[in-house]
């Protein structure tokens, strides 16, 4: 069988990259990858302060990391926080952006502007303000308040991809086509709009997941030890044992990558489905 992807692997212009181009790419990769590689190596190094490469290797720090009493509970809390944030974001963002793209188009520039605000407020200020305002039970310092805060903080990451996806499909005409065929607004959303903006929803979810899974400031200031998440445990261990902290970081990276791969895989499956169906038939 022919491999349809093969032509794409050749350089588009057919020109070999120059030496200085390779240098820039190498610098970029070193800048991005060196800290990660170092963390991986440090998590399995016995002693690494007198030599260029570690003096020996061990998996001891991983065993100690997995044996930490909070290991499982903090991972679970981080997953709960990430998934809950994604769900709340989707429920709030998708219908809102849809209405703005179809019926309230004049509102779109305002929403675009609003979605920059979370970047404009220092996280510490946001956290302290929320703690003061919602200082009433059952909200005060609760995981619910944390989810609310993290939804606001990560909202731009969901908004952008969803908004771009809606822009690309001419949502208004598709909506009207659906309505003229007898579909109500929920049927239009569930059967036409959402399936067609799924790639945007998935990439938004991915961005939100990786942001929230590694979130420290809001969690630390709003709930602290009451709802300990994985980043809190990690920061705690940077003061106790650097090698174990490195092992935790590796676990964190790995989970983030696994989730990314999973989401991208689900997304690409959705996109490729049409072509595959046809080939199969």
């Amino acid at each position: 069988m022919k491999n349809p992807r093969k032509p794409e692997r050749e350089t588009k212009t057919g020109v070999r990259p120059a030496g200085w181009q390779i240098l820039f790419i190498a610098l970029f990769l070193a800048y991005m990858l060196l800290p990660i590689v170092s963390t991986y190596v440090f998590s399995v190094a016995t002693r690494w302060d007198r030599t260029i490469l570690p003096e020996g290797y061990t998996i001891e720090f991983y065993i100690r990391a997995f044996q930490t009493s909070y290991f499982i509970s903090t991972l679970r809390n981080s997953l709960i926080l990430s998934v809950a944030t994604i769900l709340v974001s989707l429920i709030v963002i998708v219908p809102t952006v849809y209405w703005v793209h179809t019926r309230l188009t004049g509102f779109k520039p305002f929403l675009d502007l609003l979605m920059i605000l979370p970047f404009g407020i220092p996280t510490v200020v946001l956290a302290l303000a929320l703690v003061q305002i919602y200082n009433v039970p059952p909200l005060a310092r609760s995981p619910i308040l944390l989810i609310g805060a993290v939804v606001v903080y990560s909202m731009p990451f969901m908004y952008r991809p969803v908004s771009n996806a809606l822009q690309a499909i001419d949502a208004l005409t598709l909506t009207e086509a659906g309505q003229s065929l007898g579909a109500n607004v929920f049927q239009v959303l569930s059967k036409i709009i959402i399936p067609n903006i799924l790639p945007g929803i998935l990439s938004g979810s991915l961005l939100v997941f990786s942001t929230v899974f590694a979130e420290y400031t809001l969690t630390s200031l709003i709930v602290g030890a009451r709802f300990k998440t994985f980043p809190l445990l990690l920061v705690e261990y940077t003061r106790i044992n650097g090698n174990i902290a490195a092992a935790f970081s590796v676990v964190s990276f790995t989970i983030a990558w696994l989730v990314s791969i999973l989401i991208l895989w689900v997304g690409s499956k959705g996109e490729n489905a049409p072509a595959e169906t046809i080939q199969a038939r």
Partner: protein
């Protein structure tokens, strides 16, 4: 009684009038086109029939029932969009079946119906394809099939051929007319293409600036335009300014024109006389034809259009277009002195102030 009845429909967008006092009765099973330049209100009116956009004033009745306030998904009115608007996530079959699924029709009936309409648009082999795998013309056929599958009470087409190649346009408009006649489905067709409107419609509604200029069968619209706008928008028309003299003469600067119908204009009234290029005969030698308009001129341009050749003739400083065919005219060359002749009933008299 009319099947689809628009009464006194008015619509404006932030103070700008889009549709003004629109009254139209459409018979069951007929194809009516809304024809006009962009911004004339034709699409706005169509969208109001579909239920997209509220009326500021007036009512829309369908089969005797007021549907003005009925939401679009309950009107049972099908629509075909300029941009096809096929659902990209569904196959052709999925698209065509969508409306039937919304009606909760049993699966076997849906399959049967989908096969029928796909056969009608001659695309039964494309059922398993996705919209992006089809050409523009094929996509629009599927959009038509999708709208027809639910057997709507009215079919609306919003510039359905504007995005297609000239050749596909001509074929597909014939197909639309064929299917529309076969099903006898009441259809409203919006277009800015006069040839399209004239060739497929039972009735044409010419619109300009939100107002109906004229409603009539295609021949009427072309041969007996009621307003200056209709006369100049549909086809090409030569215009001669002049003053009414008596019951059958208009005095222009350098010649007089005999007209058949003065339409009640009085002596001395300033009018414009419109004459279509294809009705003008061209003779190299001075002709004898009592009772006709015979005016000498000089050929300034010759443009070959295929079926006809258009001459630009200088009549005392005014450029006049006259169409000739190879079959019925002697050879004409540039700068040749010729005579134009046309009968009085070829002259349409209009008020100067109109338009």
């Amino acid at each position: 009684m009319a099947y689809l009845d628009l009464k006194n429909v008015n619509k404006s967008f932030s103070g700008v009038v889009a549709v003004h006092d629109f009254n139209l009765e459409i018979d069951k099973g007929s194809l009516v086109s809304f024809l006009g330049p962009s911004g004339c209100g034709k699409t706005t009116t169509l969208r109001m029939i579909a239920g997209f956009g509220h009326l500021d004033q007036g009512t829309i009745e369908l089969d005797g029932a007021d549907i003005t306030a009925v939401p679009p998904n309950q009107r049972d009115i099908g629509m075909v969009f300029q941009a096809y608007a096929l659902f990209p996530n569904m196959t052709v079959r999925g698209n065509v079946a969508f409306g039937l699924l919304m009606k909760k029709m049993p699966k076997r009936e849906i399959d049967q119906r989908v096969d029928n309409v796909l056969e009608m648009v001659r695309l039964q082999d494309a059922a398993k394809r996705f919209p992006h795998q089809l050409s523009g013309g094929q996509q629009q056929r599927i959009a038509l099939a999708r709208a027809l599958a639910v057997q709507p009470r009215v079919l609306l087409l919003d510039e359905p051929l504007s995005a297609l190649d000239a050749e596909v346009r001509v074929v597909l408009r014939g197909e639309i007319r064929r299917i529309q006649s076969e099903l006898a489905i009441t259809t409203v067709y919006v277009t800015h293409d006069q040839e399209e409107a004239l060739s497929i419609s039972d009735k044409v509604v010419v619109m300009n600036k939100g107002v109906i200029e004229q409603i009539g069968i295609p021949e009427e619209i072309y041969r007996a335009p009621k307003t200056h706008f209709v006369a100049t928008f549909i086809g090409t028309a030569n215009q001669f300014l002049g003053k009414v003299s008596g019951i059958d003469t208009v005095i222009c600067n350098h010649f007089n024109l005999l007209v058949d119908d003065m339409k009640g204009f009085n002596d001395g009234h300033r009018v414009v006389v419109l004459v279509r290029p294809e009705i003008i005969h061209v003779e190299p030698d001075q002709p004898q034809h009592d009772g006709w308009n015979i005016i000498p001129g000089e050929v300034e341009t010759i443009t070959f259009h295929g079926a006809v050749t258009r001459l630009g003739v200088n009549l005392h400083g005014q450029r006049v277009a006259a169409d000739i065919t190879v079959a019925n005219t002697k050879p004409i060359s540039l700068n040749q002195k010729i005579w134009l002749l046309f009968p009085p009933d070829a002259c349409q008299v209009m008020d100067v102030d109109e338009g």
